[in-house]
């Protein structure tokens, strides 16, 4: 294999590694909330600097490859896509930290009610991140389009979660501080799903050379 091909393979692997770190952060942050495990939440906060470091390392590698290899066509798109994907992944990592911070706060008081929507949102969101990155590594398929569709499910759950909590808040204003924190968590997950959608859109660009961001759904296909 040519050196450049090996470098591109290594780049893909680094992006995938960053992706799995972020996926774990999302899973553990939600787990720390649902299972009331503040120790795990603190772990998530502590691990975030690894995500940041890898994000920077990937960016630097991309700049180096552009400068030294002058990539063209699909190579160029692979590298520019990596740069954009890592920005989204790093933001997802930050949002997982925010979830962990809310978990630590919420774990200090008795639980308002069992979690219904949030674990479901976390599950969909994680699958979106995983599939978007699988598509990046494996190449062109229907997968990124499926990811984009799943964003709507997350949005629906966000609304349901809010409506449910609103009912609780109206009944008992004392629980507002707790309920607001829960809506925050849902909002963070909803944002994570948006970042996963960005990744899927960039993967489609990488495959087809066509930007589908900010387009209405019929044009996207």
């Amino acid at each position: 294999m040519a050196i450049f091909d090996e470098e591109l393979k290594a780049l893909r692997e680094q992006v995938l590694k960053l992706g799995s770190m972020v996926e774990n952060a999302i899973r553990d942050s939600v787990k720390s909330l649902v299972e009331r495990n503040s120790e795990l939440a603190r772990e998530v906060v502590k691990r975030d600097h690894l995500v940041n470091a890898l994000d920077v390392a990937i960016d630097e590698e991309c700049v180096r490859l552009i400068a030294l290899r002058q990539p063209m066509a699909r190579d160029l798109r692979l590298i520019t896509t990596a740069m954009k994907i890592t920005t989204d992944l790093e933001r997802m990592g930050d949002l997982a930290v925010n979830i962990a911070e809310r978990a630590i706060e919420l774990n200090e008081t008795p639980q308002l009610k069992p979690f219904v929507h949030i674990p479901k949102m976390a599950e969909i969101t994680q699958s979106m991140v995983r599939d978007a990155l699988d598509a990046y590594v494996a190449g062109c398929s229907r997968l990124p389009y499926e990811v984009i569709k799943r964003d709507d499910e997350v949005d629906e759950e966000t609304v349901k979660n809010f409506q449910e909590l609103l009912g609780y808040m109206i009944k008992d204003p004392k629980i507002i501080p707790l309920a607001v924190k829960r809506t925050y968590v849902a909002k963070y997950l909803e944002r994570i799903a948006d970042h996963a959608t960005n990744i899927a859109e960039m993967v489609i660009y990488m495959c087809k050379g066509k930007m589908i961001r900010h387009m209405d759904s019929p044009e996207r296909e």
């Binding site: 063209m72 066509a73 190579d75 160029l76 798109r77 087809k208």
Partner: protein, 254 residues
């Protein structure tokens, strides 16, 4: 005058050297006042195609052509086409700078002189104007009587461009004009081509793909005598449609 958007209209055009088919059934329109780059591996027929545009291939006895090649509506290969006039309107600059073994002034004045310009003041004007347009005037205005061969490689190449411009051409064909030059001279020539494009149509054959990407508006990729892909340079280098083009420009050929 009605200006056509295409200065060259080529269709089902083939060039043979004896029995050997060097350019295979190419159809391609070249836009006026744009830079069109022709890229492709050695032996793909790109220079043959370029040299057909002002019939430089006539010099190769065994060569013959088929199909249509029109320049501003004129059939380039028609037996009554005035080749001298055709080559005045379509200039050419080669890989190796080839000034005449003569003064800088004479190099540029040669063309106008043989087409009958006699007045010294008119010739002076043409020479200065051509050297200014070739971005060489400042460097040579005090040594117009020195030999053209005494200039640096980059300057010699700009002298050849000035020699061509003195004929007031509509097109200049460039056959790898910078492959014998250092990076700074190359950058100067590239800058110059982009300036000239406002008044002259440019067709350039280059082995340097980054050069094609940097300066051209349109790129044609040729392989084994065939035109594989032609399009706007942006799309050829970011999102080529043909697998061969993709492999060639990403350096994974063969």
């Amino acid at each position: 005058m009605v200006t056509n958007r295409y200065i060259f209209e080529i269709s089902n055009f083939s060039v043979y050297y004896g029995d050997f088919l060097a350019v295979k059934n190419i159809s391609l329109n070249i836009h006026s006042n744009k830079i069109t780059a022709i890229i492709g591996p050695s032996g793909c027929g790109k220079s043959t195609l370029l040299r057909s545009l002002n019939r430089m291939n006539d010099l190769i006895i065994s060569s013959w052509v088929e199909g249509k090649a029109h320049f501003q509506g004129v059939d380039i290969f028609h037996k009554e086409t005035d080749i001298i006039e055709l080559r005045r309107r379509i200039g050419m600059v080669f890989q190796k700078p080839n000034p005449f073994p003569n003064s800088v002034y004479e190099n540029v004045a040669y063309g106008p002189k043989i087409r009958g310009v006699k007045s010294k003041s008119e010739l002076d004007g043409i020479v200065e104007n051509a050297l200014v347009r070739a971005d060489l005037w400042k460097e040579v205005k005090d040594k117009l009587n020195e030999s053209g061969m005494s200039l640096s490689g980059g300057q010699m190449q700009r002298l050849c461009i000035a020699r061509s411009l003195a004929q007031n051409p509509e097109v200049i064909l460039f056959d790898e004009p910078t492959s014998a030059l250092d990076p700074i001279s190359t950058a100067n020539i590239e800058q110059l081509l982009q300036e000239l494009q406002k008044t002259v149509t440019i067709v350039i054959v280059t082995h340097n793909m980054q050069q094609a990407a940097r300066i051209s508006n349109y790129t044609a990729f040729m392989y084994l005598g065939e035109l594989i892909e032609f399009g706007e340079t942006d799309s050829i280098f970011v999102n080529p449609q043909n697998k061969l083009t993709e492999e060639y420009i990403t350096g994974r050929f063969g």
